[in-house]
């Protein structure tokens, strides 16, 4: 297991580095969290990869720490990090993370301390090279590839059709040229005050430019497996991003019986979900695309009653048969005093 041996060496080296870095930074936190990682240097697409992280707190193994493994990538020009797996350290401060290598390229990989304490620590950065075997799990496998039936053919058709149009337009340039300086045909022309053929020239040039433009639009299309400018099995693996926390703080489906906890704030929040307020005003009342922010922003109970019953702007009104006065009061209380957590 050369991978493992190298991994251990890696761990020792980097643990030292992290410790030095930790001291050097002069952090004022109560505990210095150190992370060291043991990982293979390379992985094969489709195979499982084991990554071990050792978490120390003031150089002592830290039990129960949550660490997450992620890798950096970009999707549609936006850079971010995709989380692969997270784990909790055992009594030796070791967390074992096994993930399946899916991407054709990992970029930089990170092991990060996530919790349970709210401590900012620098992530441990390392790399795992991916051995390419032309196998990539997220390649577009649906559909069949038929030789020659691809973007190149479409471009050929566009080019063919447009060259015929441009050729026709060019004939008009020739019509104009043939008229210049030639003897007029008396039966056709009466007075011969003439213009020139520049309209036809412009028409021809515009036609050619439009045709070229269309082919350029075509060639610029990204992520096309049939695209002549892209390699086969163009990497489209990134699937999710870690960068921001999703502000989801509610429950999936609200059941009426859940709103009987006798805690007015909890009951109010439940009713807020149950009657669909959340779908416009955000999961925690923090506002969304349609509805404005409500949490901490609602006014008097009287005004709130009126708004809920009438439904201002595009909001539907809630009749007393649907939503009782008591329930409105509870929702109001939640929105007034609840927190977004």
């Amino acid at each position: 297991m050369t991978h493992m041996r190298r991994g251990v060496a890696c761990v020792l080296m980097l643990a030292t580095a992290v410790i030095i870095l930790g001291f050097g930074s002069g952090s004022v936190l109560a505990a210095e969290i150190g992370i060291a990682v043991g990982a293979p240097e390379s992985a094969t697409v489709g195979a499982d990869v084991e990554v071990k992280a050792i978490v120390t707190s003031d150089d002592e193994p830290l039990e129960g720490a949550v660490v997450a493994l992620s890798y950096s990538t970009s999707l549609a020009g936006v850079a971010g990090r995709v989380e692969l797996i997270s784990a909790v350290t055992d009594s030796d401060g070791v967390a074992v993370m096994i993930y399946e290598q899916r991407a054709a390229e990992n970029g930089e990989m990170f092991v990060e301390y996530v919790g349970p304490d709210d401590i900012e620590t620098a992530p441990f950065v390392f790399t795992i090279a991916v051995e390419s075997e032309q196998q990539q799990l997220y390649a577009p496998i649906s559909g069949i590839k038929i030789p020659l039936l691809n973007g190149t053919l479409v471009i050929a058709v566009i080019a063919g059709v447009w060259s015929m149009i441009a050729f026709s337009a060019y004939q008009l340039v020739r019509v104009g040229r043939a008229g210049q300086g030639a003897e007029p045909v008396p039966s056709v022309v009466v007075a011969s005050e003439q213009g020139s053929a520049w309209v036809a020239t412009i028409l021809t040039i515009a036609t050619v430019l439009t045709a070229v433009g269309m082919v350029i639009v075509f060639l610029r299309t990204p992520l096309a497996s049939g695209d002549p400018l892209r390699p086969e099995l163009y990497d489209r693996s990134p699937i999710a991003f870690l960068d921001s926390d999703l502000p989801y703080g509610g429950v999936g489906l609200a059941d009426a019986s859940l709103a009987e906890t006798d805690d007015p704030l909890a009951d109010g929040e439940m009713l807020y979900f149950q009657f669909g307020c959340a779908s416009c005003h955000g999961l925690s009342g923090t506002g969304a695309v349609v509805g404005p922010e409500l949490l901490g922003e609602v006014g008097s109970l009287g005004g709130f009653f009126e708004d809920v019953r009438e439904g201002p702007k595009e909001m539907p009104g809630y009749a007393s048969g649907v939503l009782s006065d008591d329930d409105i009061e509870l929702i109001h209380r939640f929105l007034k005093d609840g927190d977004s957590g």
Binding site: G151, V154, I158, V161, W162, M164, I165, F167, S168, A169, Q171, L172, R174, V175, G176, R177, A178, G179, Q180, A182, E183, P184, V185, S187, V188, V189, V190, A191, S192, E193, Q194, G195, S196, A197, W198, V199, A200, L203, T207, T210, G213, M214, V217, F218, R220, T221, P222, L223, A224
Partner: protein, 470 residues
Amino acid sequence: MESVARWRERLIAKTTKPTLRTTAWYWVWLSFLVAVVAIGVYSYSTQWRNGLIVTNMRDRISWGLYISAFVFFIGISHAGTLISAILRASKARWRAPVTRTAEFITAFSLLIGASFVVIDMGRPERIFNVYLFGRWQSPIMWDVMAITTYLTASLIYLYAPMIPDLGLFRDRLADEVGPVRNWIYRTLALDWIGTPTQFKYLGKAITLMMLIIIPIAVSVHTVVSWIFGMTLRVGWNTTIFGVLFVAGAIFSGIATLVIVLAVLRRIYHWEEYLTPKHFIYLGYLLAAFAAVMIYVNISEFVTTGFKLEEAGEFAFRQLFLEDFSVMFWFYIIGGLITPLVLMVVPKTRTIAGVVTAAVLVVIAMFLERYFIVVTGLRVPLMPYEPANYFPSMVEWSIFAAGLAGFVLLITIAVKIFPMFAVWEMVEEREQEVALEIAQSILVDEDMRDDDETSGAGALAGSPIPEGGAP
């Protein structure tokens, strides 16, 4: 017999007449159209400011009148080019007086139709993203490409055969019209003096465009249908949509052509050139396509109805029995069967009959576009209450502006451009006269030869009746 030269002079006089004489009614009509367009522009400005919320399109029914209008106008555009190209390719001799109008209808309805796509956009300033970030895997891109191609091709196909007539106008109207139109004629006529070389190059351009424009036109409305057909929605998810849309496009195109020709004929007294024959031949085309449409509808509804999946039942119910049944049955009975009957029964095979059929067809085909768009989106994808949609005033006024804009463009074009292909009509007239002379000589000889035997030869050589009126 009248000489071709004199016949030509009379034709030129008739063709140039709209450009020379303008009545007060014309200005009234023009002002009315401009007013309707202005109201539409104002409505659009409210949509520009406030977004698509001013329409009645919402999340569940997200396409409505605008997209129906888009499909409808792109459909009408097949009038022109396709009919003119098919008639030209098949050397139909009666085509000459109708082609120019048809080609104008094509160009103008394409412009109006394409603008409805932009009108339907919530963020129209992002239109250029189609060019900057477009992906050719998307049916919308196919549409943009097909319509761009068709618009370019049909403008050239409108322009090329008009060059000799523009030359004619340049020569004849130099002293009669103002400097703007003079400049237009001088510039667009491309030094046309009618030399054989010029005719050769012009012929090349026209022939090539005529051949290529038929597949382009077919592809355009097929691709328009694919915007619907490439989705998994009940009612849209069918392979017959391409055929249905192309047939429907030609069908509504012919009908529009009939209406426009009838109006122009009445206003400018073009009875000599637009004879009942032209209308009846167009009526036959209309009847043929009505039959095709009936067939396609039966084929579609029987194949899906026989299997009738769960959501299909909802789709059928709303179409045949409930919300959209009035529209649907008007389309079938009023728009497909009645026009066919009107053309089959000899008594109604008149200009009035053809125009009646054409009006029915245009209304029915618009309704068809509308219910295809809306019913397809109305079928619930999950167990929720089906949404309802009826266009808002903003949508109606913009749609009205689209119709008015189309008529306005034709109204203006009549005052500037030659609406008859004079040189082609003269060519046809020459051939007709030559044929008549040849036949009269033949008849004379036959008479002499057959004097002793029988009179059968005289019947066989009877001259073709002029105008071909029934």
